[in-house]
Symmetry: C2
Subunit: 396 residues, 2 copies
């Protein structure tokens, strides 16, 4: 099949979708990596397309730091925006819902329907706050596996995600190798660098410096909005790039002809953009969840958790085919980090395709239209589906 | 003379030095670029070496964002550290105090002895706070010129500085071309990029988000220490580089063998380093001054203020010889920005030496030992001094 060689980035929408919930670990709590336990756990998730009879067409999409289960379509016809990866998921799109059954769930520790620090602790009847156990990427994946089992999928056709979603992809590939036929880690890393940790740490300090944060116990009052906004602004700088910012903003002024010689109002468009992003984020995200997901990303180290410090040893556990993509202007997870993981995969004889995509938009590029990436993902899934069909045929 | 070809980075110390003060603009206030006026103005400054009889050996050193007038030597024998550029200034060092008369003054708007927002407004008897006029790099340089006049120097042998100090160097070269024989802008830019503005804006927002900031009116109580610490942490990330952080910290843990699975204590050395830098800064720097100096850096645009938007037109006003240096891992003011300024200088037929120095330590590299940079600066000043001597001889 070569229908995707001339892949059109358009496709159509999956249309109206609904957030679903799966609750588990009520009787037997989930043991998390810190040694603590958590239960019951509810995962918010969405599915698009239909699971086929042999349950071989399921693709798990994994979201980034502050993403959610709403990857495609819309909840209400009045929604101003579709799900966060709508350009990639839908009929005729790379994650083709006419062919694949797409699953996306919100991570544990998040605040978009999945159990996290803002959830009520059944033991106390009050929100967990900081008593919520610190979560790792491994814990997120462990919870996702419960959902995949529940949905009756024995082996995923693919696991796909960028940034912290890509970390989950990597974790899936070595934690549950039998369950993963192919994997697409995008704009990601096998371990958070000191630079990436540094940005997250400053963002956390901004939240924790806000008196309203109150040691994480703020759910009866106002949330630490100032600190969370600053944290988000820091994040947004890392999602762009020097060149992206120059092209998008340069030194253009915001709604004024002259600099203000004052501090209250934004002079430059880039300042106005960051303030707006900070404010917008406060309305949709929980400050404690931000602490938890950034900590999970910082703790992520596939090499130490699965390979005693060696990436080669870690990927010795993987069995799937990989498509790895980095973006030339991504300075949060630069290409050299993807190259290192690709080398470690290859040393294990794994089937790996790797591409560094020329993109000026920095780390966020994986969320933006990119015909080359779309085509590569479409063809990659097509190959994985062909393999699955062959195996199905042999099994019959 | 070639005594510096085999330049040793050692040299000796200038020894004990004293902060001095120069007050002016008492009767006739300084008119600043915003259109407001300021007076009286006190500049804190230090000098090292002796001004020669013909006053041709004066070198003005210009400090970066949060620097001060204490560039070399020590105040007390018990001081744990010398001035911030002690490795460059002293007998036998590149800025050789046996030959040159070195002057360094704290910028207007600062908080190290020079008039700034923490100073008392004579009109009210209370600290200026935000009623202090917003200051530009041009204003800083205008005030420095008053000091240079006062010291009896008609023409500076050289103006030398890195980062925001480099901006002042560039400003000097086009604002007072008759007074500048040579100029050494290091790790700097003719205009702040959107990325650089973005980092400063987030730092300012961190300060202004701190309730203790109180609209800049906090001098009767505690200063906004939490916000200022976060602002400084952001700054410190930009002063390093991905590679520098990897070499300096990587993922090494701080005083522990295992990650903590908690938020209060630092897990990683890089977190501990940033927290320490933030705390240390709070003890020595005023939060409002941080707002003022970052704003001055953001507003800096030599091209618009001196060339109607053209760097070539701006440098048409310059007459001096330049030594421009950038650092390969500096992503705050990357080399392409230095290259652009060098091209604009060359289009005006100016005598320009340019070097991109291989350095892994990011933007801060200009403050660190670098034998190649030291040698280049020494030789460059030597040439300028030779020129000055020739002119002196002709004038006799």
């Amino acid at each position: 099949m070569s229908e995707y060689v001339e892949h059109s980035p358009s496709g159509t929408s999956v249309g109206r979708v609904e957030k679903q919930f799966f609750t588990f670990a009520a009787d037997e709590p989930l043991l998390v990596e810190s040694g603590r336990s958590l239960g019951p756990v509810t995962l918010a998730y969405e599915t698009y397309g239909r699971l086929n009879a042999s349950a071989t067409n399921a693709v798990l999409v994994l979201h980034a730091l502050t993403g959610d289960s709403h990857a495609a379509g819309y909840y209400e016809t009045s929604d101003s925006k579709p799900g966060w990866w709508d350009l990639m998921i839908g009929p005729g799109k790379p994650l083709d819902t006419d062919r694949y059954f797409i699953i996306c769930s919100n991570v544990v520790g998040g605040c978009m329907g999945t159990t996290g620090p803002a959830s009520v602790d059944p033991a106390t009847g009050r929100p967990y706050g900081l008593s919520f156990p610190v979560i790792t990427v491994g814990d997120m994946v462990q919870a996702q596996k419960c959902l995949i089992d529940h949905l009756g999928v024995g082996r995923l056709l693919s696991v796909v995600g960028g940034s912290m979603g890509g970390m989950q992809v990597l974790e899936w590939s070595v934690r549950y190798p039998d369950m993963v036929r192919s994997a697409v880690p995008l704009a990601t890393t096998t371990k958070h660098s000191a630079l990436a940790i540094a940005f997250n740490e400053v963002a956390r300090q901004a939240i924790m410096a806000d008196p309203a944060w109150n040691g994480g116990d703020y759910y009866d009052g106002e949330q630490p909005a100032h600190g969370l906004a600053v944290a988000r602004m820091i994040g947004h700088i890392t999602y762009l790039s020097d060149e992206a910012m120059r092209q998008k903003f340069d030194r253009r002024l915001q709604d004024r002809c002259e600099i203000s010689f004052a501090f209250e109002e934004a002079d430059f468009q880039v300042e106005s953009y960051l303030r707006y992003q900070g404010q917008k984020f406060v309305d949709r995200f929980d400050a404690n969840s931000f602490l938890y997901v950034t900590k999970a990303a910082d703790y992520f180290n596939l090499e130490s958790s699965h390979g005693c410090g060696s990436a080669v040893a870690a990927f010795a556990k993987a069995q799937c085919r990989f498509l790895v993509a980095s973006f030339s202007s991504d300075w949060l997870y630069p290409t050299y980090q993807s190259r290192a993981m690709v080398q470690a995969m290859k040393k294990n004889g794994l089937d790996v395709s790797f591409v560094e995509l020329e993109a000026k938009w920095g780390h966020d590029a994986f969320l933006l239209p990119n015909a080359r990436l779309s085509g590569m993902i479409a063809r990659f899934l097509d190959r994985a589906a062909a393999d699955a069909a062959k195996e199905d045929a042999r099994a019959l």
